[in-house]
């Protein structure tokens, strides 16, 4: 890039005036962009191994089944970019699945009230997580770990650890059904529509003042507080969005898979891995929301690829783990280099502050520039 340039200001100018293709190329070189390359590579490998996967009908189904984890990753992104963790996500999914199974049963008239109840419950859990973390100053790692255990215990107490049966089919349609008889695609699963809505909402939100604030809080909470933002409320809302996204994932999973106490197990770690794979920095302040969703797709593609390769059941997890570590290591290495200022001067936000007092166009989306 522009290491030869001597003036910081001209570096920014050059970057901002770059052509569309150059900017795209630059975006792909960030960890948040590289995940899209990784995803494309994985999908291409799958299609080479098994061409029928690339047919529109089966591909859209793949997108549909990945929707719950992608939505969970989007929710986890808000918390991580604000510098916190949400480990209670998996338990929230499990709890909501059990709530749906036990309260709706086969009664169609209960679908709407229970749906509302689940969303309220989700928001409430996020509120509790957020308030304890921000007002009582307990590290979110501990708060949400405690919440995870508390909710798991509640589920165990309620069910004895086994499923009670699936809820009414009308409720399950949300996660299992779709718009039928669509040309080319054959079916557009409802989860795909819900995921699209969530992704668009996340994208827009991160471009609005709240999104900027969230990244500022994650990058440097003291500075954000001095600048007048209510850090506790910004973060608490991030926790609420995380729990709500887990709730939505739970609703989709009840439809897709059915009620079982094992649904949602390990979801928090899959979501965190997806977010990190998407180039979002643990500790906050850097990363793009759609890269987190792409991270979820990359993970799911990896699992599918391993299925297609016919890997032995006994050491499948080991291979998964190794690949994830390598991918994340590759991503974090390039962030570290940037932080040290080894590359382009225009990437260094401190210089931007000094050089351009008014926010310059093209420097948006936090560290994604």
């Amino acid at each position: 890039m522009s290491t030869a340039l001597n003036s910081e200001r001209s570096a920014i100018l050059k970057q901002n005036r770059a052509s569309r293709s150059e900017r795209l190329l630059r975006a792909v070189r960030t960890p948040g962009g590289a995940v899209f390359v990784l995803l494309t590579g994985l999908l291409a490998t799958i299609i080479v191994l098994n061409p029928s996967f690339g047919e529109p009908g089966s591909f859209i189904r793949f997108v549909g089944r990945t929707a719950p984890i992608a939505i969970a990753a989007i929710g986890q992104y808000f918390v991580i970019v604000a510098g916190e963790f949400d480990l209670s996500m998996g338990s929230v999914v499990t709890m909501q699945v059990i709530v749906a199974g036990n309260l709706i049963r086969q009664d169609d008239s209960k679908v709407i009230p229970v749906l509302v109840l689940m969303l309220v419950l989700g928001a409430f859990i996020g509120l509790v997580n957020g308030l304890i973390t921000t007002l009582l100053k307990v590290p979110s790692f501990i708060v949400t770990l405690g919440m995870m255990l508390a909710l798991l215990g509640l589920v165990l107490y309620w069910t004895g650890g086994a499923a009670q049966g699936n809820p009414a089919d009308s409720f399950r349609q949300i996660g299992r059904g779709g718009i039928q008889d669509v040309p080319v695609l054959d079916i557009i699963p409802y989860p795909v529509i819900i995921l699209t809505a969530a992704a668009v909402a996340g994208f827009v939100l991160m471009r609005r003042p709240y999104g900027r604030m969230l990244i500022a809080v994650g990058d440097n909470p003291s500075a954000a507080a001095l600048a007048g933002s209510r850090v506790w409320w910004v973060r608490t809302r991030a926790f609420m969005m995380s729990s709500l996204s887990a709730t939505v994932a739970g609703i989709l999973l009840v439809g897709y898979a059915g009620v079982h106490p094992s649904v949602g197990r390990g979801y928090e770690f899959t979501a965190i891995t997806a977010v990190v794979l998407g180039g979002v920095v643990l500790g906050g302040g850097r990363g793009w929301v759609l890269s987190a969703a792409a991270g979820a797709f990359a993970l799911e593609s990896l699992f599918t690829l391993l299925n297609f390769m016919g890997l032995q059941a006994t050491w499948r997890d080991t291979v998964q783990g190794a690949i994830i570590i390598i991918a994340v290591a590759a991503a974090s290495r390039s962030w570290q280099r940037k932080r040290k200022g080894a590359s382009s001067a225009a990437h260094d936000e401190q210089h931007q502050m000094a050089a351009a007092p008014t926010p310059a166009e093209g420097t948006e989306q936090g560290g994604r520039v």
Binding site: M1, R29, A34, L38, T45, N50, S52, F53, S58, R61, F62, R65, G160, G161, A162, A163, Q164, G165, N166, R176, L253, Y256, A257, G258, H260, S262, V263, R265, F303, T304, L305, L306, N307, F308, M309, G310, L311, Q312, A313, T314, V319, A322, I323, I326, A327, A329, A330, A331, R333, S334, R337, K338, A342, S343
Partner: protein, 406 residues
């Protein structure tokens, strides 16, 4: 530019790993159909260790054995063999029983636990048992060892009932219980000692594997693909089922590909979807019925022909079997065995001899019996097991229908 090269190197480092795994596994996938040995992904070395030829042969014979006792009361039937003299335990009056339970964390154990409690009430009514103190180990070996030692230290137990969490770990604790001189009844999973007064169990995992794999291989051709959905590795009861099935699939040239699912329906559905995308799946084999419905739904959602399938006698599977009309069978790991320990203690306190190893019947449900078993269990919830064997107990059927876990 330098950060690019770092990433490129790291990703390049990942590629051989992917390529390597592809190379090491794929030849074994393609090779299977011809030779009929060394099946697909199924060649996990662990299951070789679990295979025990003599146990396989014994259970294979026991599948067609005649059982002593009244077939109307299968929970009291047994295969003739060495009997244990219990005259030294003979004592009048009501006795306190202490039950160290592994867990009630799956629908099979829950159903059994409900039945056991109704049996307990019956025996309390006849004045055989005064009370049963139960400690639930929540699937944890250490907890269960502590539970048994607690019972021993408390010293108020007139008899022990133990459903071990795992075989090797619990052996010494069971031996300590035996040393108290009180009757000890072990049931479901075994331990590596025969100090117990009796060990109650259905025929076993190998019989399950033989029944199911024979059923599938009779209906499928050599080279057809079967997906084997397994709950988790390392539990003897489950590993024996797979060890026997795997041997038969290999002999018949069936391509069986096994997966661990943790009974998670999401995983099951993803696995089946992926397998359907790579080619036809003709059969589904399960080491337990939990999640069978999700497996069938994956076929429905993909619009594929439903497979030949073996599940379990769980109501969710039986109902789905009836609805879809698939070619299936339901192997049974007799749930009524949860009644037997308390009934065995009744005999012990009377001083009647009981079998040293009490092998209960284990008869699968075949197509011609499906309607009958659905009829008998009408109104039961989806996690209920058809062969729960508690129809003659008080509280039938409401207690099982409401599935109130004591």
């Amino acid at each position: 530019m330098r950060n690019n090269s770092v990433r490129a190197i790291a990703l390049a480092a990942a590629l051989p790993l992917v390529a390597l795994t592809g190379c090491t596994t794929e030849p074994s996938v393609t090779q299977t159909t011809g030779t009929g040995t060394g099946s697909a992904a199924a060649s996990s070395p662990a299951s070789k260790d679990w295979f025990d030829q003599s146990l396989y042969d014994t259970q294979n014979q026991q599948r067609s054995a005649t059982f002593e006792g009244n077939p109307e009361q299968p929970y009291l039937q047994y295969i003739a063999g060495p009997m244990r003299d219990t005259s030294k335990f003979k004592a009048p009056g009501a006795h306190k029983v202490c039950f160290a339970n592994a867990s009630i964390s799956n629908p099979w154990r829950q159903t059994g636990w409900i039945t056991m409690n109704q049996q307990l009430k019956a025996l309390q009514g006849t004045g055989v048992i005064s009370e049963m103190e139960t400690r639930d180990a929540k699937d944890n070996d250490n907890t269960q060892i502590a539970d048994i030692d607690y019972f021993i230290a408390e010293g108020k137990c007139d008899a022990f009932v133990i459903s071990p969490n795992s075989t090797a770990a619990l052996t010494q604790a069971v031996e300590r219980a035996c040393e108290t001189g009180k009757p000890v009844v072990v049931f479901d999973r075994g331990v590596e000692t025969d100090c117990a007064t009796t060990f109650i169990h259905p025929i076993g995992g190998f019989a399950w594997g033989i029944d199911t794999a024979t059923f599938l291989s009779e209906r499928l051709q050599s080279g057809d693909k079967v997906v084997a959905l397994r709950i988790l590795p390392g539990v003897d009861v489950l590993e024996h089922r797979w060890a026997a099935a795997k041997k038969i699939f290999e002999e018949k040239g069936i391509q069986a590909k096994d997966y661990f699912t943790g009974a998670d329906p999401t995983k099951i559905k993803n696995i089946i979807s992926d397998e359907l995308a790579t080619g036809d799946v003709k059969g589904v084999w399960m080491d337990a019925g939990d999640g069978a419905v999700a497996a069938l739904e994956a076929f429905e959602d993909a619009g594929k022909k439903l497979p030949v399938m073996t599940g379990e006698d769980e109501m969710s599977f039986l109902t789905k079997w009836k609805q879809t009309g698939i070619d299936a069978m339901a192997p049974v790991y007799s749930n009524f065995q949860w009644r037997t320990p308390l009934l065995a203690l009744e005999k012990v306190f009377k001083g009647e001899p009981i079998p040293a190893e009490w092998v209960l019947p284990q008869k699968p449900i075949l197509k011609d019996e499906l309607d009958q078993w659905l009829q008998r269990n009408q109104g039961m919830p989806s996690g209920h097991y058809a062969k729960f064997g508690g129809e003659d107990l008080a509280g039938y059927p409401e207690v099982w229908q409401k599935r109130q876990i004591p």
